[in-house]
Structure formats: structure tokens, C-alpha cells
Symmetry: C2
Subunit: 247 residues, 2 copies
């Protein structure tokens, strides 16, 4: 019986095309008989596996995708549920594992991938070389007061920061509001910051600027924002956080 | 002139053997004429590139390795400086970029890799599916008071946490001290926690336990510790943090 159990692989693709896939992710995609995910992410891997059947849904249909993947595995086929970035960090592993409680006859395997904090960090230099926080500014699933509190705590602790979902059409001023909270809680206006747009994709752009400049910068939903700690410096156009305070 | 510039690739290997390498990391290791790094990490990749020359040094000789890599590139050979995990997160990208200021005639390319927060997180389930902090408990380069302050802020913000370097021979009680700070700053004693030892390597072990149990648990330097947020739950032996607070 257990030998016939099928698997849903929840696979982090990293930021873009094939070059960010791990060997483990390639194996999972290869083993899967069907690929499942948000249309934009499936389009990133479809060219690598043109023979595979694909099931795509719109952006907010996460639970449908999880259900479909588990039902398909139960019916006898290995499935790869793909996520951009990591499978875990704001990814599909969490809702899939919740729903998988109803599917004891299906295996779930989480395959990690490069989240934007790492892939975007590499583009900028080494912004997260010391203790850091990752915070999403999206209030779709999280009350804004919780986000505000976390921004305040991150600033008070002088963490370096990666900010995900810094903006969207419905909330163009969220990054400014976030910067104001960081400034009010101890981050200096000249704290070094960076942004990376379209990480690992065509049209990749990076910018290095101060926190006070960041406050008046418009970014879009394809951008990841980095905020340094007190020791972060610009070196030859790169954003570099020292690994420690002692030399 | 610029066509003859040589490159130091600073390459994150991920947690263990070849299966965690990205395609980009494989390309960098292949292009490099010589691999350079801490002995233990070179041993992870040497079997994959048996024809490559390797230069290895002991654990605390990071600056020597950076200098050697830059000198070697200046002398005309591409070098891969390898790190376990990510190149940036507590990795060699930061000291290399600092030293590279003295080597304008050498390119540096940062190649990201799976840091233990991601690779260990995948072993446990999805512990970092929402906002999280990464904190190292090593006070080799950071004053302990800074570490304490960050632990307190992380607890106050109800972040999920990945704790790196939770213990070593010289500081067997650091994890207990860290847990006490988390408890004193708002983390509940029954907060779900996890640990992963030897991520992606032979003898990989995982444990799921509460924060109060974690306080009395001994871990070693090969272990990464995860602390949930208030919503983190155990599901079929996995540690799962929901992606949000609203349903």
C-alpha cells in the first residue's frame, strides 16, 4: 500500500528561470507527472519541461491549487506544486500541509528554493550578512497593525530587513508608511537601503539609496526592498552589511 | 583590458552535498579554475569537481581566504570561494566585498545558496511561512548585548525565528539564555519549536518540541533551531506556521 502512495512536491523555483533551480528541485519537477501553480510561475518552468501536463490557476486561488494537487496525487499521480522563491517563505508549503491533514494517503515533500531575500541580496551585494528580518507589507492575510508592530520591533533591534510585497495598486503608500515606522523607531535617515526589481528575470534593476530617499521612492509589486542595519555601507555600488561589530 | 578581468565567485553551496546546488552555482564552480574555502565545505564539493585545484584553510581564517581568492584572480585565474548555506547570510560575500575594494581589477560575483533557515525549514515543514527573523547566537563577532536585544525585539514582534549557531563548546548555555529572553518578552512557553541537525547530510535529525522543552534541550553547533510565532502548529509531525492571521 505505502509503496503506491503518491507525492505532492511543493517546489520553490527561486526568482526566475532555470538557473536558480536546485538539483533537488529539478529532480522533483522531473519526477512529477503534472505541474501545478499560478500561471506566471508555471510559465517559468514550462519551457524546461515541455512534455509535462500543467494545471494553472489565478493568483488568489491558492487553496484550489492545493486541493487539486492533493486530489491528483490521491488519484495516482505525482504532482509538483510550484512557488516562486522558496516553498515555505510566504509560499504554498504552509497551506498545502494544512490541507494535507485530510489526505493521509498522500506524501508531501517540501523542496526549498531561493527566496527573494537571498536572490535579491546577491544582486545588491551582501545586505543580509548579519541578523535580519523578512517582513511582508501585504495586509491581505495579516492585519496592518501586526505589520506595523513588526516593523517597529525590527527597527528597535537594528535588524537588516528584507521587505516583500512593498507595494501594489491598492496600497501605493505602504512603503512610505513602513519607512516612517522604521524612522520613528530608531533607524537613521541615512541608513543604507536597496531595491531589486525583476530579480533574475529580464529587465532586472537595482538601486542603492538612503532610507530617507526610499521614503519618497515608488516601487511596484515586482520589487524587493532591503534596509540595512547601522553598519551597512555602500562599497563600489554594492550594499554590504558587515558580519559583525568587532574586528 | 576588461575582457581579461578575472572573477571571484562567492558561492553558496546550500546545506550539504550536490543536490542543493543551483544551476548558477554549478556553472560558477565549473567555470572556476580553483576552488577555495573552509576544509569542510571544500570536502562537500570536491567529489563533484575532482579535477579542480583546491585551496583550503581552517575555520577562522576567512580574511586569508578572501585575500588568497582576490590575489589568485588578479594573477589570472577565476576562483570560486565557497560557503555553506548562502553566500551572503553570515557568509563570505561581505568580507570579500570589503576586501575587494583594494582589487578594482577583479570582478566579484555573488551566487546565492540555500541558507539553513530555508533548507532546515523544509525538513520541518513550513516554520517560516510568515514574517521571520534570523539571529545568530554566536558572540564571536557580535556583542552578546546586541544578540539579547534582538531576541527581545523578535519576541515582542511575535516573529517566527531561525537561530543559527545555537551552541558551541565554549558556550553550552547560550540557547537556554536565548530562550529565557524570548520567554521574558512575550513568547508563550508552549510556542512550537523545532530543531534540525546535519541538514541535508548523513545523519539528518529533526525534532519538534515546545519552547519550554527547548530551554532544557542540548543542541550542538551542527543544529539550526526554529521558534514559531503564536499561530505555529504541529501538523502530522511537521511544524507549520500559517501564512496569515485572517482566514
Amino acid at each position: 500500500m505505502s509503496e503506491s502512495k503518491k507525492t505532492v512536491f511543493v517546489v520553490g523555483l527561486g526568482p526566475g528561470g532555470g538557473q536558480f533551480l536546485t538539483v533537488q528541485a529539478q529532480s522533483a519537477l522531473q519526477q512529477a507527472e503534472v505541474l501545478c501553480g499560478y500561471t506566471v510561475y508555471i510559465d517559468l518552468v514550462r519551457p524546461l519541461y515541455p512534455e509535462k501536463e500543467c494545471y494553472t490557476t489565478g493568483m488568489t486561488r491558492e487553496i484550489d491549487r492545493c486541493r487539486w494537487a492533493l486530489d491528483t496525487a490521491r488519484a495516482g499521480r505525482d504532482v509538483a506544486l510550484v512557488c516562486s522563491g522558496d516553498a515555505g517563505v510566504y509560499g504554498m508549503a504552509s497551506p498545502l500541509l494544512e490541507l494535507a491533514e485530510e489526505y493521509p494517503d498522500v506524501n508531501v515533500e517540501v523542496v526549498p528554493g531561493l527566496t527573494a531575500a537571498l536572490s535579491g541580496g546577491a544582486v545588491l551585494g551582501a545586505p543580509l550578512a548579519h541578523d535580519f528580518c523578512v517582513i511582508s507589507l501585504s495586509d491581505r492575510l495579516t492585519p496592518w497593525e501586526v505589520i506595523e508592530k513588526r516593523l517597529a520591533c525590527a527597527a528597535q533591534g537594528d535588524f537588516a530587513l528584507a521587505l516583500y510585497n512593498p507595494s501594489s495598486k491598492g496600497r501605493p503608500d505602504y512603503l512610505r508608511r513602513a519607512v516612517d515606522i522604521l524612522l520613528a523607531n530608531g533607524k537613521a535617515p541615512d541608513t543604507l537601503c536597496g531595491s531589486v526589481r525583476n530579480i533574475g528575470r529580464e529587465g532586472q534593476e537595482k538601486h542603492i539609496l538612503t532610507l530617507s530617499q526610499l521614503r519618497d521612492t515608488e516601487v511596484d509589486m515586482f520589487t524587493t526592498v532591503f534596509v540595512g542595519n547601522a553598519a551597512t555601507r555602500a562599497l563600489s555600488g554594492r550594499m554590504v552589511t558587515p558580519r559583525g561589530y568587532r574586528r
